[in-house]
């Protein structure tokens, strides 16, 4: 399982596929206080990115894929500097 709620954050790990979308959205709904930690994520399926766009949690770290880190992650976290 690559989407886990830890005490400090919702942590995404490794290649996160479309099958994680439902549990991820449930976590975002139930724990709006937790930031989402992408430090250990490698790739994110579009469904997960879409969920982040909608729920706008605070994002910690950037995913491992160059493409996501360069082109996607910066737009996901407008509040971070």
């Amino acid at each position: 399982m690559s989407v886990i709620a830890e005490t400090h954050a919702v942590v995404l790990t490794g290649d996160c596929g479309v099958d994680e979308a439902e549990s991820f959205v449930t976590l975002l709904e139930s724990r709006p206080d937790l930031p989402v930690d992408l430090t250990r994520a490698v790739s994110l399926h579009t469904a997960l990115i879409q969920a982040i766009m909608l729920f706008q949690p605070t994002i910690v770290g950037a995913p491992g894929s160059d493409f996501l880190a360069r082109w996607v992650a910066p737009s996901l976290n407008p509040r971070a500097s």
Binding site: V18, A21, E22, F24, V25, E29, S43, L44, H45, T46, A47, I49, Q50, A51, M53, L54, F55, S65, D66, F67, L68, W71, V72, S75
Partner: protein, 655 residues
């Protein structure tokens, strides 16, 4: 073989080549009207000429192929792989039968049987239901694209143009296994990306994580075909627009348009001339260059005889003749120049087939195909290029899965580029594959006993890479049927050197490998330095000589069995040309020696001669007949006084 048949075979080969190019272009860009027309014309012409002979099977196949292309022209048949693949098979088949026809004048039974299955395949296409419009319709520059361009942070233009992408994934696309961001990640040369929710979501409770509600817009570097390849399976969800650089008008440009159009124009006034006739013209012109030098001594004679007026007249006509002869020589050399395209175009199909066989996705990009060089050089270029291209496809380029794993676009890029650089030409073969690992190269060379591990330790990475050119070197673990044919990169290097060129290699691990061939554009006049040994005179190509040096006999130092001297704090071995040529040794009583410093065997060597006479501009002819292959002799040339001069091959003599 009768003349009609001979003419047919020549024409058929050209038409086969033309239609192959057109079909491959259509495969990349199905909407290319011009290519479709051209393919249709080629097949139509071919069918017409086949009608002159009794090749029924061939005629039937071409007839059906023509019908299909006609259908594609009027829109009743889709231009897609379903059409192009069987047509390419037809062309392949025809390509294979031209030679047998040229030899025997008829089709073999096996070829007639093959025609049957081709006909079946073509009929299947004809019966296929008609579906939609072309895959990607060309659009005029719409507002969204110009807005997007305006928001781009790095508006630097790109040589291949910029393409705006609007990707609206289907709401249910996740269920088809689509991952729009992953698809976007495959776009090569991405310059700008924006994404947003397509429709605002009223309440988070209504949010369905499995419905895609996004719009993605991006700008990427062209050419358009490269982008189309990424979105090939999603034409209904994607709009692609080529961004105009200056005026905001959509320009659906064809990269082949320029040179292609020019060569068609030229075809109209082309005349077929046997190569041998031009060769003899070049030869005569070359001799004229030497013969005109004979006028100079005449002027001297006249002056010595006290007739200054005659001497001046001779000199005046000598310079006039010199001008004309040089112009003539330039013109006939020009007649032998052909565009490298003749060799480059053979790679399109080869790369396509090989890539399919290897299961790799490779995009061949050809640039500078209009660059011209001597016909012999362009033809001789094929073998080394073939080896380098195969090498790149086999060892350089990774599989799509491996590429994705290291965040590279799955479609590998193989670049074949020619450029003119002064009087030389640069041909580049580069891939964006895995690159070469200098450490692995070093280890392999040590394992093969090409050098000791101490020597290997001392090498820089750049030097290590050059080891791949050593005879007997190959890093491939498995000898594949592609490039592992016992022909190593050393053979490629030798072939290039034979053409008077050099081969260079640069590679970055994980980024790719580039081979650069630097070649002369023509075997034109070369500069010689004429040297004397005893009573003999020899020519040495000026390009081999780094410098000339006057060496005091006292400065010669014996080193083991040989001799050497110090030149600018470097020890340079000294050889005597008389020894190398096994002539009488020179008298050792001379106070100083005249030494040519030449490049040989990767270092510098001093060659002592008795005298340095003068320079000559001549056409060196390779040795023929009994003298062929004589060690250390490059060829012969005629001097102005009618004497034959032997031109030395320094590299061979020294090595």
């Amino acid at each position: 073989m009768d003349e009609l048949m001979a003419q047919f075979c020549i024409e058929a080969r050209e038409l086969v080549q033309q239609s192959t190019e057109d079909l491959l272009a259509l495969e990349r860009e199905p909407g290319d009207r011009r290519r479709l027309e051209s393919a249709f014309r080629s097949i139509h012409t071919l069918k017409g000429s086949v009608g002159l002979f009794d090749f029924q099977a061939l005629h039937q196949v071409l007839h059906l192929a023509e019908d299909l292309l006609a259908g594609a022209r009027d829109g009743s048949i889709d231009v897609d792989l379903g059409l192009i693949d069987p047509l390419l098979a037809v062309i392949d088949w025809i390509d294979g039968i031209i030679d047998p026809i040229a030899q025997t004048g008829q089709l073999s039974e096996k070829q007639v049987i093959a025609a049957g299955s081709l006909l079946d395949a073509l009929q299947k296409v004809a019966a296929a239901p008609i579906t939609a419009e072309p895959l990607f319709a060309a659009e005029a520059m719409p507002q969204w694209a110009s807005d997007l361009q305006a928001r781009m942070r790095d508006p630097a233009p790109c040589a291949d143009g910029l393409v705006a992408i609007a990707y609206t994934p289907h709401p249910e696309c996740f269920f088809n296994g689509d991952d729009p961001f992953a698809t976007m990640a495959q776009v090569p040369g991405l310059r700008h990306l924006e994404f947003a929710l397509k429709e605002p979501v009223a309440s988070r409770a209504d949010f369905d994580p499995y419905r895609c509600n996004l719009v993605l817009q991006a700008i990427a570097e062209g050419p358009l075909a490269r982008i189309q390849a990424v979105f090939r399976l999603l034409p209904d969800q994607v709009r692609l627009v080529e961004l105009a650089v200056q005026a905001p008008i959509a320009a659906v440009t064809d990269p082949a348009e320029g040179p292609q159009a020019a060569s068609t124009d030229r075809n109209a006034v082309l005349m077929r001339v046997e190569a041998a006739r031009i060769d003899s013209l070049v030869e005569i012109a070359g001799e004229l260059v030497a013969a005109k030098n004979g006028l100079l001594p005449l002027a001297g004679l006249a002056r010595d005889g006290g007739d200054d007026a005659l001497a001046r007249q001779i000199l005046a006509s000598q310079s006039e003749i010199e001008r004309l002869v040089n112009a003539l020589y330039g013109a006939v050399t020009q007649a032998r120049m052909v565009p490298v395209d003749q060799t480059f175009r053979r790679f399109a199909r080869l790369v396509r087939e090989t890539a399919a066989r290897l299961g790799k996705a490779i995009d061949l990009v050809v640039e500078g195909e209009a660059t011209e060089a001597d016909r012999n050089i362009v033809e001789a270029l094929f073998e080394p290029l073939l080896h380098l291209v195969r090498n790149a496809m086999d060892h350089g380029v990774e599989t799509a899965a491996e590429r994705l794993a290291c965040s590279k676009p799955p479609l590998a890029r193989l670049l074949l580029r020619a450029r003119q650089r002064g009087d030389r030409m640069e041909v580049e073969v580069s891939d964006d594959g895995r690159g070469m690992d200098p450490i692995r190269v070093r280890d392999a060379a040590v394992a093969k006993g090409l050098l000791t591990s101490d020597q290997a330790e001392a090498m820089t990475d750049v030097e290590s890479l050059q080891l791949v050119f050593s005879p007997g070197f190959s890093t491939a673990k498995v000898v594949s049927d592609l490039s592992g044919r016992g022909v190593g990169l050393d053979a490629v290097k030798t072939a290039v050197q034979k053409l008077g060129g050099a081969l260079e290699l640069t590679s970055r691990l994980g980024v790719g490998t580039t081979f650069v061939l630097r070649l002369p554009v023509s075997f034109s006049m070369s500069q010689l330095m004429v040297v004397e040994v005893g009573v003999e005179r020899y020519g040495v190509p000026l390009e081999d000589i780094v410098e000339t040096h006057r060496l005091a006999a006292a400065d010669i130092r014996p080193i083991r069995a040989g001799q050497a001297f110090v030149l600018r704090q470097q020890t340079v071995p000294l050889l005597f040309l008389s020894d190398l040529l096994r002539l009488e040794p020179p008298g050792m009583d001379v106070a100083d020696l005249k030494v040519l410093i030449v490049r040989a065997g990767g270092g510098r060597v001093g060659i002592a001669v008795d005298a340095i006479a003068d320079r000559a501009e001549t056409l060196t002819r390779p040795l023929g007949g009994l003298l062929q292959g004589m060690h250390g002799i490059l060829g012969t040339t005629l001097l102005g006084d009618g004497k034959v001069l032997l031109v030395l091959n320094m590299e061979e003599l020294v090595g």
